[in-house]
């Protein structure tokens, strides 16, 4: 990967990276043992054995996903779930309990000592009785089986203090969508009729902040808000002291276009995000851009590659929490089966089909972010037949990954030079095929 006038070498499977000049790069290509030893690359021929693996054999779900409802009490400008006008039914209480019990009986023993449940929507707390029932069922079963219950929820925070306190008391992590101070929050995430949402979400954020739960603020950045990201970060960190902040770039939808919201320029986003992440750390807040976590290697970015079982209000079990219409539009079938009072009825064929979706297109296989980003969302980024050119998600991810690796190398001067050079950013973000193919390595294994 070209970084200014040097080259960034990244070998995540052997935990080695270096910023080298052209001469050293050539020595690496030639297999110079002295250089390889100095750079920690002598184990590269065994790297394939170190690749994180996808699940095999019987299902190995990392968590149970519950969608208590597809309904929502907001009208967010960029929502792709169509939740505001959703007319479907909430999940019956008995189904929620049955799903938790089936998950506990079938899978928990094989997954360690944790019974983990994640809530998705719509807005999960648009069906609060379902959430409460599932939480207590899980705690009851965990007590019986000697397991540790763990709960996480992606939520909008638009409910009363009593509901917020329940979540703060019972959840380990609350992932609260909160895009910034009033003007940004109300622009991005209004209530129906365009009414402001800031006061309600801020009240919930305060309750979560003071509760035992870890507050994770999920900040969606648009073209309109990217220039204000530092102010947003300072505001959210100082007012609510979250444990984590997750930064995401707005993904264009018909709804966001109709609202006049556009995704940020990927380079503007990456630079703003980098600065904001440094600021968040100064407040003791852990910042995350999920596709560029250079401290981790993974085989899959999302539930699809992790055998996760996501239960819809009807009892349908899928590998993804997005709307079925979204994956069907991509020609994908992410359904796995059903759950009812008799337990999970899963199709082995369906499971293998979903697992098979974790292969990567060429643009990803040769990318230095491969083992961190893993192609991002399988429905929106690396679906079958997706273009092989880098898109904006790729560009910002490549830049943020590079910045993260330079940070690891403590190359602070290079970081600042890179952030000031548009041409260097464009060059590295657009560099196709980062893989180094020296003659001394068997590259067939990486095809």
């Amino acid at each position: 990967m070209p970084v200014m006038d040097r080259w960034l070498l990244h070998a995540p499977l052997v935990e080695a990276e270096a910023l080298v000049n052209g001469r050293v790069l050539e020595l690496v290509r030639q297999g110079d043992q002295g250089i390889l030893e100095e750079l920690g690359l002598t184990q590269m021929n065994q790297a394939q054995a170190l690749e994180p693996v996808l699940p095999e054999g019987p299902p190995q779900p990392g968590f149970l996903g519950l969608i208590p409802t597809r309904g929502c009490n907001m009208a967010c400008s960029y929502c792709a779930f169509g939740a505001a006008g959703h007319q479907g039914r909430d999940m019956p209480l008995e189904l929620a309990a049955n799903a938790v019990e089936a998950y506990c009986r079938s899978f928990c023993r094989n997954q360690g000592d944790t019974l983990e449940v994640h809530f998705f929507g719509g807005e999960p707390m648009h069906a609060p009785r379902v959430v409460e029932t599932a939480v207590h069922k899980a705690r009851y079963l965990a007590a019986q089986e000697g397991l540790k219950p763990r709960f996480e929820m992606a939520t909008n925070g638009i409910y009363g203090p009593a509901e917020a306190r329940f979540l703060g008391d019972h959840l380990e992590t609350v992932v609260l969508s909160f895009d910034g101070p009033g003007p940004i929050q109300n622009l991005h995430r209004p209530l129906p009729g365009g009414r402001p949402s800031f006061e309600a979400v801020a009240r919930s954020a305060s309750i979560f902040s003071e509760s035992p739960a870890t507050l994770c603020l999920r900040v969606c950045v648009s073209a309109a808000s990217a220039g204000l990201l530092l102010d947003t970060t300072e505001f959210l960190c100082s007012q609510f002291q979250p444990g984590m902040m997750v930064f995401e770039a707005l993904q264009a939808t018909p709804e966001s276009a109709a609202a006049g919201l556009e995704p940020p320029d990927p380079f503007v986003f990456a630079k703003a995000c980098w600065r904001a992440m440094a600021l968040a750390r100064s407040f003791g807040v852990e910042p995350v851009y999920a596709a560029a976590r250079v401290d981790q290697v993974q085989a899959a970015f999302c539930p699809v590659g992790r055998d996760c079982l996501i239960v819809s209000p009807s009892g349908r079990v899928s590998g993804c929490y997005l709307l079925a219409r979204d994956w069907q539009q991509r020609g994908l079938d992410l359904d796995l089966g059903q759950v009812d009072e008799n337990g999970f009825q899963l199709s082995r064929e369906a499971l293998e089909r979903v697992r098979g979706l974790c292969g990567l297109p060429a643009r990803c296989r040769g990318c230095l972010a491969r083992w961190h980003c893993t192609g991002g969302c399988k429905v929106n980024q690396t679906y079958p037949g997706c273009p092989d050119e880098y898109n904006d998600f790729c560009r910002q991810t490549r830049l943020l990954t590079t910045l993260g690796l330079l940070e690891t190398l403590e190359c602070h001067g290079e970081i600042e030079k890179l952030l000031e050079s548009d041409s260097a950013q464009e060059r590295l973000a657009g560099h196709y095929g980062d893989e180094l193919r020296p003659g001394w390595m068997d590259m067939e294994a990486y095809a």
Partner: protein
């Protein structure tokens, strides 16, 4: 005016409680002692103190415990009476 038949009792004054991994920890400041409420009773305590109606409590606890509604209704009645007798609850 007579109280509604299904009016729920409320926690006695001086009681504090906290959610723990496998139950609810009660602290009785007035009497200077504590106790642990295990599941499934802990679920009833948690939902009762969050002011769920009797009807909602019954539906939720039936799902949590995997019991029929009528059986659950009786179980709740018995347990609430016990907590009243123990001074953990007082009548609304």
């Amino acid at each position: 005016m007579p109280e509604p038949k299904t009016a729920n009792p409320r926690p006695a004054p001086g009681l504090a409680w906290a959610v723990e991994t496998h139950g609810i920890r009660l602290v009785d400041h007035a009497r200077g002692h504590g106790r642990f409420i295990a599941y499934p009773e802990a679920a009833l305590w948690d939902l009762l103190t969050r002011r769920r109606s009797r009807e909602t409590l019954t539906r939720q606890m039936a799902a949590v415990c995997g019991r029929e509604l009528s059986e659950t209704e009786q179980w709740i009645e018995t347990l609430l009476d016990s907590w009243l007798d123990q001074g953990l609850l007082e009548k609304a």
